[in-house]
Subunit: 201 residues, 2 copies
């Protein structure tokens, strides 16, 4: 099979295979589609790719994706600047936005503390977070990190480091995911759901 594909097609397939979620078969199908489509399709996609990569950067204030110096979240005056949601990665901001349940501002850490991977607090945007708290006007910091061991450890580290400034520090609830039965929940999820139970009456 390797020798029967034209060289440039093979190179395109290899490049497509580097993308997340694109396996060898998808890469080949996409490459074949592109070389057989109108030339404007391939060229348009290529240009959109380079333009997006060159224009999209990180907000200087919160670290979210932006095309200007600051992002639409920091610039939106209708948002509640007293609420700060701390996430690991810039894409996590989009997940929180999609929930529609948050109208405050963000702070992107740029990862989580991971001693095994040599990532300490100094590698994350923790100091800029502290500076935002020192600048004042923030009432609550919501830690919206992953619910695995490293995410939990990072949340606890941040809670301790940010404590004592008169700012409330909370983190996302852990429990049953929406629309799921008990039989699908693992033991840790169930024990956390029990521990975090809320009184109804």
């Amino acid at each position: 099979m390797e020798t029967i594909l034209p060289d440039s097609l093979r190179a395109l397939r290899a490049a497509l295979e580097q993308l997340p979620g694109i396996g060898p078969r998808s890469a080949e199908r996409l490459a074949l589609f592109l070389v057989q489509s109108e030339v404007e399709v391939a060229r348009g996609l290529a240009e959109a790719m380079v333009a997006a990569r060159e224009r999209v950067r990180f907000c200087e204030r919160c670290g979210a994706l932006a095309e200007l110096q600051t992002c639409v979240f920091c610039d939106d005056l209708r948002r509640d600047g007293a609420l700060l949601c701390v996430v690991e990665r810039a894409v996590d901001v989009l997940s929180v936005e999609k929930s529609g349940a948050f109208r405050g501002r963000y702070h992107v850490l740029g990862g989580r503390i991971s001693p095994l991977n040599g990532v300490g607090p100094e590698d994350l945007r923790v100091e800029p977070l502290e500076r935002r708290l020192v600048a004042g006007g923030i009432r609550e910091v919501i830690l919206a990190l992953g619910s695995d061991v490293e995410g939990d450890a990072t949340s606890h580290y941040l809670a301790q480091r940010l404590a004592g400034r008169g700012v409330r520090i909370s983190r996302l609830a852990h429990g049953l995911p929406a629309g799921s039965g008990l039989e699908y929940a693992d033991e840790l999820t169930l024990s956390q759901a029990l521990e975090g139970r809320r009184e109804l009456v």
Copy 2:
């Protein structure tokens, strides 16, 4: 959600969504990956795309994908030029090659006869196929078209049109796909498998 993504990122997502098999969620994931990857990744993929689209063309003789005037199948002298496999599309050549069961040459029709879509024999590469038969040296034409109604009709049309030249005309067997049980076969497949049964003893 629409207003929170930077413009160029949204444009890239829209372009990616045009690709086959890429839904809205995959397109967004890929776009986010690309804007956060090294700039060489996005640029390299964009260049591979344009290069492949510009360099890959169709073999002047058989219609398969090629970078030169003729393809590797027509140029390979070890292949049996007396066997000609007729397929609908250039990508079908790759499927036949992957089977490893054919070492002859190819002829790409460029589609199938489809009155509903206004595609007649004159819109396909039928005349070039006749010219190849007239030129001589071909012992058998294997029709490897789709096994649906239009593929079948096209096969029968070609069989009639190419008959009477002393060239054997065959088509692929229709029957049970490999590794499948009877319970997964639809009635038409089963009736074709029965009709095409082969004596073992």
